[in-house]
């Protein structure tokens, strides 16, 4: 059984930026089988309130040591509870869940916005030694502490900010056409706001570059049983974000016409 429920022990837990935490859990069974793009479904406490698990992408894996790392933003009650756990505490994790990114690439381009960069970090590391180019966007410079995290696991980093406080002013999709000019890339991976992924996928299609995107939705079961998270495929068939995704080929779920 590759998917499992593990009591991950908190190894390290610290702030990367205001309201952003990096949590490393000892969870060998999950670490062993995790692939980039997959997530863990985390129980944030023993109480019935909050009740449901929280889906969080696997952002890093140390297979030898048996650790997985999650990078998350504190947004509500669940993540706030998670944020309070000191090393030595246990966190109940189901995973690894969902499918992962297709890794058949020689010259990958990763495009991410906000917390969408978390699964791309795992992807970037896993792609080495075929280093990825990373294009990341944020509202302001303050949001782009991600640069430090990606340093050393990619070929180069391109940055946009809405306010121009770092890198190019604008959105990732404003800078993307330039990057695609030389048609250097054979695969694009995008994770972030839906509008961004839509834009990236269209540009990728125009260039004939296969593109994968990663979806988010509210999830109860995380394993395809409850149908909380379904979306329509372009073929008319339904897809479950948790188990058919969260990674999809762009044309599978996005209308790119």
């Amino acid at each position: 059984m590759s998917k499992t429920v593990a009591q991950g022990i908190v190894i390290e837990h610290f702030s990367l930026a205001p309201m952003i935490k990096r949590l490393t859990l000892g969870a060998p069974a999950i670490a062993r089988s995790a692939r980039p793009g997959q997530f863990v479904h985390v129980r944030v406490g023993d109480s019935y309130h909050p009740l449901l698990r929280r889906p969080l992408s696997i952002a890093e894996v140390d297979r030898e040591v048996g650790n997985i790392t999650i990078i998350y933003r504190v947004v509500g009650q669940g993540t706030a509870l998670l944020a309070s756990l000191p090393p030595g505490e246990f966190v109940d994790c189901m995973g690894p869940l969902g499918n992962g990114f297709d890794m058949e690439t020689e010259r990958p381009l990763l495009v991410g916005g906000g917390m969408g960069l978390a699964p791309l970090l795992f992807l970037a590391k896993a792609l080495c030694p075929k280093p990825a180019t990373v294009l990341m966007g944020g509202r302001t410079k303050q949001e782009l502490w991600w640069r430090n995290v990606f340093l050393g696991v990619c070929r180069s980093i391109h940055v946009t900010t809405d306010d121009g406080s770092l890198g190019r002013k604008g959105f990732t999709i404003d800078l993307l056409p330039e990057l695609l000019e030389n048609c250097e890339y054979d695969r694009i991976y995008a994770c972030g706001p839906l509008r961004m992924m839509q834009g990236v996928a269209k540009l990728a299609k125009a260039q004939g570059i296969p593109c994968q995107i990663s979806f988010e939705d509210h999830m109860a079961c995380g394993v395809g049983a409850c149908l909380s998270c379904t979306c329509a495929g372009t073929d008319g068939k339904r897809r479950k974000v948790c188990s058919d995704g969260p990674v999809f080929w762009a044309e599978e779920v996005l209308d790119l016409s």
Partner: protein
Amino acid sequence: MIAVEIAGIKMKTPVMTASGTFGSGPEYADFVDLNKIGAIVVKGTTLAPRDGNKGRRIAETPAGMLNCIGLENPGVDEFVGRILPGLARYDVPVIVNIAGFTVDEFGELAARLNVPGVAGLEVNVSCPNVKEGGIAWGVDCANVAAAVKAVRRNTKLPVITKLSPNVTDIVSVAKAAEDAGSDAVSLINTLVGMTIDIHRWRPELGNVTGGLSGPAVKPVALRMVWQVARAVKCPVIGMGGIMTAGDAVEFLLAGARAVAVGTANFVNPRASVEIAEGIKDYLVERGLRHVSEIVGKVNDNI
């Protein structure tokens, strides 16, 4: 010691999985041995495939959750042709939860499910998340009776009627189902609830309202199971907020002959098996020999 037979369906444990919360079973096979579950009740199945409701489908509430899936399912033919065969390799009774939008549809669904591999039918007259049918049936005794009769006419399989808690008098609905030929009743389906996003001044759920499940509803569910079990002769399957073996024992003491676990699966995918084991431990600790020895026993002290 915990094997039970409900309306002719032989189950290794009295713990079933509740419709809509366990897919058709294999979704959870990585986490739990499906052969150790009392019975799997599959997601509500309709005649035609359905996409379900648009927008957000779940919201968390204190000790509970709301859902408005809206009976998304691939339709009965796809279920029979593609999903059911995959369940054949498991040694577990499969009960199909059927949802019609007219009396005839209930009959037709029953007819199409006269196939090997189906252990029983659960007549879902209580889905709160669809406009027609569903809850509209479930709150009216005559409608419930008509649906059950249509199913009864078209099947020799055990028929279970799933009752809505959103009624003034659940006992009379249960009796109507029993009188119409239902072999058992199961309750409760979800309570209709709502939650509002105070930042965006919108309902959190795409369908505005949804069905409340989880520990929050347990006291209401237990009360209804107790009331119904005292009033009907047929077996009662109790559910609503069962998270632990202790919760399940409460339902058994209240008069349920089996229980179903729904929302708990999301929290602990092994819940259905662990609860069954816990019931066994409970019996052993008390020197009891069979789960039937505790069914309805609260009534001895009332």
